[in-house]
Symmetry: C2
Subunit: 392 residues, 2 copies
């Protein structure tokens, strides 16, 4: 028996929403390759996305089809609600072969299902939908018509259900424990990697109620002279004294991520650094202050921008992104952005990470908040205070 | 000053080997998008591959060009040897935009460099080279000729230098500590996620000499009724009694991975399970026994196959793959495979993970070995004994 994280009715709702969009776009069939989208529609959860796999949704088929490598079919059986005849694996000689490509098999299977002349949506810019996958699928289905369906499923994912929010709250509880773990572990005489170890040990344990999982990427630890790097790999040097450490990380529950960034300061920060941090916090508060259904993404960013402008600070990068289910390489959903020009209107159940980070010259401060949009405002999905954390 | 893991001369050698292959294939320019290949050629190391980025190698330019998101340029400065004018970032409004794509920028930059009519190699099936990236790059360079260069750099990577092997030995030392950690932590009354936490805490600490890093994927923990799943996500159930646990994991040093799988048994395994494990070990020994320069990949697999056949066991999947530098989603290099039909000839310095795993019916055993090919045979890069680990 498969172990599912949601009621069958919830999966059915998701599928119906996707089919509605497919109909609106004139697509008969949708080939879903982004792992988070595959998980969303079927529950499929395994670290098999380094080989070609897909969930195929068709208007003329009630349930989707999972297709992938034969050895991973057993995970399709154990993590999805799909009946056995909707799990259609390819044999191992398609794997990383110079002569055969899994999309040959998948295309043939689709033709056999009667979709050889269909209008087929593919996720053109999705992770793991490579240029080769696309070329081979087109070759295998010469009479089909291909349309871009990138982000079609992602846009359905942007509004979270109550059950999804519960998992995200649980993920947030783990995130808060990770902040505590960092606070307790960070000392001048330990190495960056030792700090990472202390944080991730807590991340993977999770809480008593919900065990932890790895996030789509390991924590980002930007310490000292590298506090101005947003996405560095940590090293094995001692942290040292009188340095800021920006850490971006996420607790995870049932694949749902709840990210946070905090700046920790080892030693006594100078007053101007404290002031800098206060401005980032004030900007975040200003952004959160306008969150409610009806506000647009660009209005959230404008509130942040206006707050920062008072202190003469500008930030080029976007202020944030929606988050939820994630696999490597990112916990962003790639749909809306909190930035100028984004007219996406907030609705109840939309979850964003307000990635309030400022990197200026040699240093940076990141004090962020993942929120859910409620009927009247926002719900903070992590409870860690929004402040510079000084460890002296 | 950038902090490099290798001498400049070693990077120069790698680049020369890649240019030699480009020349042989008639390519003027190569757009390298696989993160491990980018790292190999320039040292670039950051968790920024969730946005479009590339290293561009051209025959008429001594040094490659790094291009990516503006905020990650600082990591290009801190982790590569590239001079400032070879680090060419795009602004943030290209990121996950519906109107602009980073490949528009990259194509334009390439045209400005005089490569608008060049023959350009692209890594068609590489991770993170999406169908959209390819379409946009073609559009941005309408007069260029595109050729497939998938695995071109990967094939150069297959033979390791002494310095690379030193890092892989160090990674192996961490791997061995992870095996010990698993042995010490695994008990019937802890959850799968707690076991994972104990293992990863050690992975990230690494050794005193070399701090640890996260592997391209978290450890795979296949416990009890899920011991027949090769790539599962762990859960938060108690391990329980009398179960096998297959764990696949890798210590990492300077981005170099040294993987291992071991089967742990909680309780007293039945004699037929022990026999099963002995056969897997015997098969591995048989495969390792024929490793030396001159042996082909299929001969290694044939030795394993013959050993298993004596016990009436067949394995469909390939027996192994080369490993080294890795980012999500895999630590396999995707070039040679230890399998029937693969005529790749082993050379000194080639490193493979003999992924000796058998999944039969409801269970599985995985007892594997990462080896380096020496002048006369093989060097085991992890020292953990090849045996079923019984925890009673």
């Amino acid at each position: 028996m498969a172990s599912l994280n949601f009621e069958r009715t919830e999966y059915a709702k998701r599928l119906a929403a996707v089919k509605k969009r497919m109909t609106a776009e004139g697509m008969d069939v949708l080939v879903v390759t982004e792992p988070s989208n595959m998980n969303y529609l079927t529950g499929y959860d395994a670290y098999s996305f380094y080989v070609v796999q897909a969930v195929v949704v068709a208007l003329d088929s009630e349930l989707p089809i999972w297709t992938g490598r034969f050895m991973d079919a057993v995970s399709a059986h154990s993590t999805t609600y799909l009946p056995a005849d909707h799990i259609i694996p390819y044999t191992d000689h398609y794997v990383q072969s110079t002569e055969r490509h899994p999309m040959d098999f998948i295309g043939r299977m689709m033709a056999e299902k009667g979709w050889g002349k269909a209008t087929i949506g593919v996720e053109m810019g999705a992770y793991y939908y490579t240029a080769r996958s696309h070329a081979q699928l087109q070759k295998a289905l010469p009479n089909a018509r291909f349309e871009d369906a990138e982000l079609l499923v992602n846009w359905v994912r942007i509004v979270k259900s109550e059950q999804e929010l519960d998992y995200m709250r649980a993920a947030g509880a783990t995130t808060d424990l990770m902040v505590e773990a960092a606070k307790n572990a960070a000392r001048p005489d330990i190495r960056e990697c030792d700090l990472a170890s202390a944080i991730v040990a807590v991340q993977l344990k999770g809480t008593e109620k919900f065990g932890g999982m790895p996030s789509s990427g390991a924590p980002l630890i930007s310490a000292g002279p590298r506090a101005n790097e947003p996405h560095p790999a940590w090293n094995d040097k001692l942290l040292g004294n009188d340095i800021p450490i920006n850490i971006e990380m996420a607790g995870v529950c049932r694949r749902y991520h709840c990210p946070i960034s905090r700046t920790f300061y080892l030693g006594k920060p100078a007053q101007d650094y404290r002031d800098f941090a206060d401005r980032v916090v004030a900007g975040t508060e200003a952004a959160l202050g306008v969150v409610k259904p009806g506000t647009t993404c660009e209005e959230v960013e404008a509130a942040w921008r206006a707050s920062l402008a008072k202190a003469g600070i500008e930030k080029e990068a976007r202020l944030g992104y929606p988050t939820g289910i994630a696999y490597a390489p990112t916990w962003g959903e790639r749909t809306a952005s909190l930035r100028k020009g984004d007219k996406t209107v907030l609705e109840q159940g939309m979850v964003f990470h307000v990635m309030a980070g400022i990197w200026i010259g040699e240093t940076g401060v990141t004090i962020t908040q993942t929120f859910n949009t409620t009927a009247t405002g926002y719900e903070a999905l992590t409870k860690s205070p929004r402040e510079l954390i000084v460890i002296d």
